[in-house]
């Protein structure tokens, strides 16, 4: 029995996802977007709010959409992220 190589016996050779790992990945991504500070970082690299040149009548480009997305994620998710992160930390402490 010790000679058998440790074969994976499940669907695990291709990144077996559980829903919980998806939730964790989503939380990490949203955290990453939420910590981008407006003044200290985004303005320095030209992604600040005051740098969205309003293209009136024309459809905004990818960069403007992305900046809007970042700003809205930060605005909306700031408070719920506190709760979600706290829950996640407690769960990780309790169940590993």
């Amino acid at each position: 029995k010790a000679l058998n190589p440790n074969r994976s016996t499940t669907c695990e050779n291709n990144m077996a996802f559980t829903l919980y790992s998806l939730i964790q990945a989503a939380i990490l991504c949203v955290n990453a977007v939420a910590v981008l500070h407006e003044e200290r970082f985004l303005s320095k690299i030209g992604w600040g709010v005051d740098q969205t040149v309003g293209g009136f009548g024309d459809e905004p480009g990818v960069k403007v959409q992305l900046m809007n997305l970042v700003r809205s994620v930060r605005t909306v998710m700031r408070v719920p992220l506190i709760a979600v992160n706290a829950v996640c930390i407690v769960l990780l402490l309790l169940f590993g």
Binding site: C11, A16, L22, G55, G57, D58, Q65, L66
Partner: protein, 309 residues
């Protein structure tokens, strides 16, 4: 895949709009959720999509005076009213998150539609007209238009795929009940990831199409039909059959996705769109369509290759 038997609607029944209509009149389905036991007595399986199981009310609601004991009568009526209250509350909560009417649109299918759609999925090359037909600005239900996306086929195909995966793993003597759950959640997560990436790219490139989230879930769930076909051929004919079936269903699915999404994502290449600075736009829309199409065979291979060794 289990086939539903539906009562045929009279031909002049008006279709329900995909956005929730203000009237509560449901002519698409025999909505048996309101306790109408008389409708159930015809022996057809009328599709009641409310979760409370209207056919269960048939016995209880029809005869409140079945029992001689008045206390039991009162208790039963109280219980049924409590159940109705609970059902209403659940419906209200669910309809806060997603519109149940929109969801009902996607399950308005019948046998003929399912068979034709499956044939189109497997052999789309002879299908001529890919345009989704409208009826006074609302899209037609899948029962009336074979090009309309539905959620019945993806759901059933997903469940069949999970069962097939369990069977394939059992053949290889690698089965355990946890594996089934793992396969199910893996496939589900890939669908969610794909839908999220599609939504994000459609938003970032400001593509104003009428593809709702459920449409994207539907189109992304059609690949399960290809997966089932591939796994079946792999199980029956060995690894050669697997690769042949993989190539066939990949090509068919790519063709299907490109033709279907082309109508929705790339409509306005015509004079009304402004030319300034958006010369890259049609290109990006094409990239999205092609990327979606190319993603399908990759994910089919990824999710089925370990089942057919």
């Amino acid at each position: 895949l289990t086939l539903q038997h539906h009562k045929l609607q009279p031909p002049n029944s008006k279709p329900r709009a995909r956005a929730a209509p203000p009237t509560a009149d449901s002519v698409l389905f025999d909505d048996t959720s309101s306790a109408a036991p008389a409708m159930n007595s015809q022996g057809y399986y009328t599709p009641g999509y409310n979760m409370a199981g209207p056919s269960n009310n048939m016995q209880g609601g029809a005869g409140p005076d079945l029992f001689a004991d008045p206390m039991a009568n009162a208790a039963m009526m109280y219980g049924s009213s409590l159940a109705n209250q609970g059902k209403d509350m659940v419906n209200k909560e669910i309809s806060r998150f997603m519109s149940v009417n929109k969801l009902k649109y996607f399950f308005a299918v019948d046998t003929r539609y399912v068979l034709k759609k499956l044939m189109i999925l497997m052999f789309p090359y002879t299908h001529q007209d890919w345009e989704v037909r409208y009826h006074r600005d609302t899209p037609l239900t899948p029962r009336q238009d074979v090009n309309a996306p539905d959620l019945y086929i993806p759901t059933m195909a997903f469940i069949t795929y999970i069962l097939l995966a369990g069977m394939a793993l059992g053949i290889q003597k690698r089965f355990s009940p946890e594996v089934l759950g793992l396969c199910a959640s893996t496939a589900l997560v890939w669908v969610i990831i794909e839908v999220l990436v599609m939504l994000l790219s459609l938003y970032l490139l400001t593509v104003h199409s009428d593809l709702s989230t459920f449409d994207l879930i539907a189109y992304s769930g059609y690949k399960y039909v290809g997966m089932i076909f591939t796994v079946l051929c792999g199980l029956l004919f060995g690894s050669d059959g697997y690769y042949v079936a993989l190539a066939w269903s990949s090509c068919a699915l790519m063709f299907f996705i490109v033709r279907s999404l082309k109508m929705k994502i790339l409509p306005s290449l015509s004079p009304d769109s402004m030319v300034t600075g958006s010369s890259a736009k049609p290109q990006f829309r094409l990239y999205i369509t092609v990327a979606t199409a190319v993603f399908q065979p990759i994910i089919i291979y990824w999710l089925t290759s370990h089942l057919v060794r």
